[in-house]
Amino acid sequence: MILTLFMAFVVQLTFAQQRTISGTVTDENGLPLLGATVVISGSSTGTSTDFDGNYKINANTGDVLSFSYVGYQGQNITVGTSNTVNVTLQLDNTLDEVVVTALGIKRNKKALGYAQQGVGGDDIADVKSTNIMDALSGEVSGLDIQSYNQMGGSANIVVRGYSSLMGNNQALIVVDGTPIVNETGSTTDQKTGRGGYSYGNGAIDVNPDDVADVSVLKGAAATALYGSRASNGVILITTKKGKDTSGGIGISFNSSHMIGTADKETLPKYQKGYGAGYGPYYDGPGKRWNIDHPNYDATNPSENLTVLTGEDASYGPAFDPNLNVYQWFNLIPEWGNYNQTSPYVAPNSTANDFLKASTTFINSLSFGKSNDKTTFRAGYTNMKQEGILPNSEINRNTFTFNGSQKFGDKLTVYGSITYTKTEGLGRYGTGYDGRNPFQSFRQWWQVNVDILQQKAAFDQTGKNYSWNMYGPGYSNPLQPHYFDNPYWDRYRNYSTDDRNRYFGNASLDYAFTDELNLFGRWAYDSYNEVQEERIDIGAVDVAEYRMRNNIVSEMNYDLILSYQKDLNDKLNLDALVGWSLRVQKWDRFSGVTNGGLNFPGIFNFDNSANFLTPEDTYNYDATKKVDGLYARASFGYDNTYYLEGTFRTDRSSALPKANNRYNYPSISGTIIFSKLIDVEWLNFGKVRANYAQVGNDLDPYNVFRTYGIGAGFDGNALASNPNTLNNIDLKAETTTEQEIGMEIQLFDSRFGFDVSLYNRTTKDLLTPLDVSNSSGFSSIWLNGGSVENKGIEVFVNATPIRKDDFTWDVKVNFAKNKSKVLSLAEGLDFLQQASVQGGVTIGATVGEPYGVIRGRDFIYHENGGREIYTVDDAPSSSWVGVYKRTSASNHVIGDINPDWTGGVKNVFKYKNFDLSFLIDIQKGGDVFSLDTWYGYATGIYDFTVGTNDLGNPIRNSLADGGGVILDGVNADGSKNTTRARTDLYTNPWGYARTPNAAHVYDASFVKLRELKLGYSLPERLLKFSPFHRLSVALIGRNLWIIHKNTPYTDPESGLSSGNVQGYQSGAYPSVKEIGLNLKVEF
């Protein structure tokens, strides 16, 4: 397939009349080949041969017909004068499908004893996503990609489940042999929902337009040669190279424009009946008003009332068009309606109207050539994206160049460089923080607020006039109370960032003989990024300027000596020995002003109100070196049996001296049984098995104890012990994996599957384990236990229809992974992953899957019903009619791990049209929502109004027939008939009265992830144009969430990549993107 795609580029421009060409395709023995593919290069026109090997196709003179068949070498034939073209294909022992494996070693896929799955460059680049990793979502079985709906935010990349637990679980990403630094740079606060921005993960700098193909190595055996970091799987990216451009001049241009809008199913649905307040706690009619306005007259108590602007909930009075009251916008002196009252009605625009359409423009231009000696390609891509929040933008420019040159027969020199400059403005604040507008929009909000009036207030005055101003009666009535005007926040409290990144490599390949080869490579990746975050004077929060400067680099040196020899007719040997050195450097500084700013709008450290202290700055300088020696030997026998063994030994500077070396072996075997069984319908069949061990180390500075420096007090220096205890007794952790797999292609390769079963156990987990704080530490670095991941991965391909001008291809991915904590370090019962707001813990104890959510649960009656407090057993009257909850918080209430994930991709080709769509599926997995935890209490959602079984508004007091009867049982098991009051924030739905379990949701989803409808200009039209190739496509991403169970939100909308998943706070909506893509080649 890849071969035919490649052939499609090699096309010649000629002029001719279209006519029918026919012929027969046979193998080297003259037997007809059934189902061989015949494609006109450079078009999507194609057909396949019938039982007798015959085909028919409409073509022009000069067209290049490309013939291919699995297991055979392809052949190209230019249509001449004859109407008959017969072809004999040669059995291919060498080419087949060549795939890239560890260390960039190219291998014949059929010989591999481990799971490998490829993705073509078009699958990534056709439907644009700004993070290349998003484009892999759903394409590869067992590769779990999650992103969080934040502009430019990070993507979580996990292969075969979480095995390292507290450490890094992200797959290693390698571009043309260069390992890419894929750190997120997100703070712990950001990852645990305590605020902060997500600046994306390092791999975001890989430009999708430059990618030729991707190879995913999942198991330990596949990755063992990479050493330490390969224990989480490897994603190998091969970029486009210059190619033979006979027929064109080698320039290609690609442009796409996408427009995105928030998916309404992932936004709150607000009630339209009641305004600001928490309940009947205040003054005026119904005790739901502010009566402190100077115009208020106690003799007319229903006039000149003021909305409770200072409260951030919607349990206030009912809207009433005949009631004129002072609202926040009537309190602004600059406005015409100042000091006038206005009708108290639901607004025209809700908080959802804060969002605008996002736009993404991606333009790329490249030029490449190749001949026998020289190959080069140069490319430039500009990506400009505006997010759905006001004042948000990312601009990324990527320059790339690669080239190779042969000197004589023996020496080849290769070099590449990619420079990426990313500039971001107004990234989205995340989590439980004022910089995240969705903290307010989903949790603390007044539905009486017209968001566009907030915009007008900011646009016209430039001031922070918030819907949440204190209001009359306060010394500072116009100051925001808990929340800023969201527009003021977006424009005045914005972040900026700038990243300059270089990566690439230089290598030499020297062939001593045909059999012996020496390869040396220097791969580099470095970036310098500056992140600036601001809070201006006048905000609710103390004004601040925060700056981070990260200089990160990684150099990898490899020297590989390889030897290939046919030992006899049937037995061949493929072996290598190698040495590598990795040098990683980090130089980080971050600082924040202390105690506010002196001058508004000035953001630098000079403007700090107080001196900076050790609590305001952070310095981190580290170097880590890992050197390794490795060897591999692979035997192939008769192109049928393969056996491969590898061994690697590493030494890491981050481990204690006594334990700094660790070794890992792997062995894998393959039998291509289709060679042994002669059945017509079986095109290819193979079984494989492997066993491997991979070691892993940790980050620097976790071995020796150092003290923290505190801010000086009263002339004294302060030192304190760190919260995490380092450990001199650490040793490398080890992942052991066994895998078996089978790969089958049937019926002319129209149906096939690839299935893998694996069992991976990681022991001596290097983990800063959370411990009882009474030990004197919050966590201790330990070899903390072992965890098992077992799973199955299935990849199915099928071609239900293959007609002359119509084909339908289906690819299905399925993966199921089950994790289990097998043991923990002595003296420990629980592995705590995160402890988050709401009183919820994520972690596991022995025997549980990693990532269990714990908190307060319902109390269940033995008949299964949820027990409800009655007048007789409620602790006080305000608990009557609500669910009982456990007093302990260690009840298991959810599991973040999905039951399974999958993807289905359909590709239809009709003449020059192609239609493809990708359905991405997750079944199971739970998420705890802080958004509903708080938001259900503040009465902003639609279900908090309406009528009850009596036909009365549920927001009436119980005395007036309001309230609801929850589905539950009494202590004696009988059905609940007690009504709970729902006229205030301590309703039976929100945090004040529910167990955590009520806010755990099933995170299953079915999504239409990608859609493409493309059209390629046919040859007959192209010939009148200056183009060598031209195609246009309608493209879409995340267009439809077909199924989900999380209310008002996207189940994927977590916080950041990393190990803390299953938690939502201030979630961003999913963005439906639709656009056009134009591809032109000259």
Binding site: Y278, Y281, Y282, G310, Y470, P472, Y474, H481, Y482, L516, L518, V540, D541, L559, W579, L581, A609, E615, Y620, D621, A622, R651, S653, P656, K657, P700, F704, Y707, I709, G710, A711, D714, N716, A719, S720, V771, S772, N773, S774, S775, G776, F777, I780, A825, G827, L828, D829, F830, Q832, S835, G838, G839, T841, T845, P875, W879, A888, S889, T986, A992
Partner: protein, 475 residues
Amino acid sequence: MIKKKILILFAVSLLFSGCSNEDYEELNRDPNYPTQVSAEQLFTSATKSLFDQIESTNVNQNVFRLFAQYWTETTYVDEANYDLTNRRIPENHWSELYRDVLFDLADAKTIATANGNENSTKEGQISILEVYAWQILVDTFGDVPYNEALKGKEIKSPKYDNAATIYTDLIARLNNALSMLGTGENLGDSDIIYKSDVNKWKKFGNSLKLKLGARLTDVNLALATTTITEAVNAGVFTSSDDDAKISYEGSTPNTNPIWIALVQSGRNDFIPANTITDHMNTLNDPRRPMYFKQNLGVGVYTGGIYGKQSSFSSHTHIGELLHDPTYKGVLLDYVEVKFNLAEAVEQGIAVGGTAKEHYTDAINTSMTDWGVSATDAATYLASTTVDYDTAAGTWKEKIGMQYWLAMYNRGFEGWYVYRKFDAPTFNTAFGSGFPVPKRYTYPTNEQSLNEANWETASTAIGGDEQQSKIFWDVN
């Protein structure tokens, strides 16, 4: 030939990376932070952490001013309604004391006593502060990890010890610490409380001993009696000059933590509770203008209904003094000592003086400390509702009321008074209807990280509930 070339290449490459294990180890030492520090530096840090935790009114850290019903909350009333789990308040209190106070003190002690320098004044000073922190832990939770605590990776899940047994041991530790004061080196200026004034430390140690003894009067009068009499005989605080306090500084992070919550945050989360304004209004207490602002009019003090959502503007605000970033932080004061002595007299313990004398001194000192004029103080003391002879109720009610009033801004002690003296009358929390907790529930992460020991301890104290009493709280 080829082989040779290759061998040379590999040899060169190994040389290139030819780092020894020692070089590698050196890379793993963080150059930015010290590996060796002094006992003094740790002591200052621990002291500062202890003061900050005791003074704080951050709803994530310390809600004792609410528990003592001095204050209530305006909009977010969860903590005033005794919701401890949502914000993990017990966890934060616990970890501050164990991790940031007690472990650093233990480490300081290890450094101070190295090379045979045992039993010095340094060690005594450190030990006294340790006892203080342990007592706070026990009084908050009941049984807590003690003997097995602070052992780092040796014991990751420490067993809990019986609260009463811990108390007995704390008294012994205090005696031992007091015996060291005056010998060998002291901590010098790193002691930000007394600048290592040995006499003051002796008084502090004995006043703390008195405090421990006073806790025990209802459960172990014999031990209480010996402890209190020994302390008094050795010399407790004799005036406010002896108070264990520090002066905070003007800029963060060295300001009084109350300033952060009340001023810097720009929020209006707290107002005085009706519990205290009602009691003080009844008594016509002259400290009201200092405790509160007269924002509703001169002499008008209306606290928010405890636990109910309250409009900030229509209620009395917290006094101006507490809005000063440099306002003092206090661990133990003369007022407290005097009330403890008054109680001791009533318990029949020979501490000299009469209950009335101690009671009157305590109130007078509180008045002076808060800046009340001598005349106003005298008028107050002379009123029939305050005068010890004429005030209504049992001695517990009389002392309890005035002790509680005087402990304003010392939420933890105010809560103690309520628990110990069962006076004055408090309100049930308006929103939840819950009564005043008798203790903090254990940190939620103990339930998972130290589950077996947590379960044992919970059973031992009669359930990990807010209403399980601390051992000294018998009524």
